[in-house]
Symmetry: C2
């Protein structure tokens, strides 16, 4: 017996259908903005399984695929199935033509915030723990 | 008898507490991004009652004050009570120092989208209505 598995086609909006509100909503989640910044930073397509930890936090596979769906349907990434893997690339070039400077500004702001958080974490780690001494 | 009305102080986060995700979430709503773009465009503080219509849509007062609360608590605007009125100004200068280019890019993208929508609406209005004629 041959089992035929029909995969639903992935929805990608045309660049004219992409909205500012859709982009901002998709990137208003800390995990999604970190995933997208990673995809933008890499020249080669990123496989979904590369994101099982984002910003040092483990993310369940089902949550991850929901995040990719939201990024894809907002017009931020293009996904392609390769066997059981899904590869994702950013749609930066098209987005830059539609909304010049928007993606770069968001990714830069995210990088500034991540650097601030890392600095604060290091400073907290260097601070000596309070001693509980009786006077 | 004198009635004393105590107003709760308005919460404004410090600029260090402002997050990219908070800004993007606040501006991912079509009414809020339009309201914020209007505040940014005006040099003088904007009273809440100036926004009873946003993008030609009537907005109830209670919804409006909820929108202002979200913009304020995301660090995008500063609100001041003047009697029964509330005046709002953008925190663009501080935001520009924390996340350079972010606010400008979002407001510009919103303007591009609004112009596209207006053009599409005008083109639709110019198109002759289909005639229902029997052949």
């Amino acid at each position: 017996m041959t089992t035929l598995i029909v995969m639903r086609p992935l929805f990608h909006p045309s660049i004219e259908e992409v909205t500012v509100e859709g982009i901002l909503h998709a990137l208003s989640d800390p995990a999604r903005v970190a995933m997208f910044a990673d995809i933008v930073a890499q020249a080669c397509p990123q496989s979904c399984s590369n994101f099982l930890t984002v910003s040092d936090k483990a993310i369940p596979k089902s949550t991850l695929s929901q995040h990719f769906k939201i990024l894809r349907e907002a017009g931020l990434i293009r996904s392609e199935r390769h066997g059981v893997e899904m590869n994702n690339i950013s749609r930066c070039t098209e987005l830059e033509q539609r909304f010049p400077g928007l993606i770069r500004a968001i990714v830069t702001a995210h990088a500034i915030q991540s650097a601030d958080e890392a600095r604060a974490k290091m400073a907290a780690a260097r601070r000596p723990a309070k001693r509980l001494t009786a006077k």
